[in-house]
């Protein structure tokens, strides 16, 4: 079966003040990406943005963003992401930068990666816990992270691009 191929970029919005994140919304992030691509790649880039670019998911609490790009030009669009220095949202300029964590062929592989990534982050937090209650809470969170529905808890990398071979 033939389908339209996309690439999903899992990015992290880094801000200095974490409450700024709450101001963000899908449209603001998409607008920032569009304007950065238009600046770096001109009308050509702007035209590519109009094909199938969209913000699939935005977590305003930890700043995780899923960006969908057409597969044919995702590298060109990706190259403009480092040039985003602020996002304008609700009349406010939020200074930030985007950090790309993962590139996947489907949302599902990106989600798997995100779960694995968050687990790692929690494990990193664990030694820094100050008291037993905090420790227990983090341990509980780690256990909650483990995917249910019978899939393997440790994620095997290597087949992120499910549609890589055509």
């Amino acid at each position: 079966m033939v389908r339209v191929k996309s690439r999903y970029l899992l990015c992290e919005v880094n801000v200095s003040e974490s409450r700024d994140l709450l101001l963000l919304d899908d449209r603001a992030v998409a607008g920032a990406v569009r304007s950065a691509v238009a600046r770096m790649h001109g009308d050509y880039g702007a035209a590519l943005c109009s094909i199938r670019l969209s913000v699939k998911y935005l977590n305003v609490h930890n700043g995780m963003v899923f960006l969908r790009f057409p597969k044919s030009c995702y590298q060109l669009l990706w190259s403009a992401l480092p040039f985003i220095t602020n996002i304008e949202s609700r009349g406010q300029q939020i200074p930030c930068f985007l950090n790309c964590l993962h590139v996947g062929g489907t949302i599902r592989t990106c989600q798997k990666f995100l779960i694995r990534y968050n687990t790692q982050q929690l494990q990193r937090i664990l030694p820094k816990c100050k008291n037993a209650a905090e420790k227990d809470q983090v341990c509980q969170e780690i256990l909650n992270c483990l995917p249910t529905r019978g899939s393997k808890p440790t994620y095997e990398g290597g087949s992120e691009f499910e549609d890589e071979r055509e």
Binding site: V37, R39, M40, H41, G42, D43, Y44, G45, S79
Partner: protein, 136 residues
Amino acid sequence: CAAMMQGQTSDWKIAGPCTFHRVVLKNASPHHYMKVHLELEDNSNRLSAVELKHFIIAGLKNLHGEVGAALNFDVLKYDEGSLTALLRVHSSGLVKLWSSLTLLGSYQNQSCAFRVLQVSPFLLALTGNSRELQLH
């Protein structure tokens, strides 16, 4: 493949003057050359070479943004009278340059057009154009 090419080129250099030596270079041309002619609405208007290059860079910036504006190309020769120029561009930038020349439509609020007369990976090929053979 690139390494093989390198090897061949260095062989080429050390080969003695009288021995037979043959090198085949596939798609290895580092530059492409274009002969372009600028058509302006108002013929009395003249551009200098610097203005022309600035104009082309502005066009590149419009179509391909800052990445395009950073593209390296040379104006090898420019004739102010006939508004004809010889451009040299890295092969990787040929499409960007060509497409932005095509879409350059106005110069100082008057319409204009670039006519691409010849394009070649070899500068020598631009010294003659059989389409210019005029017989009376």
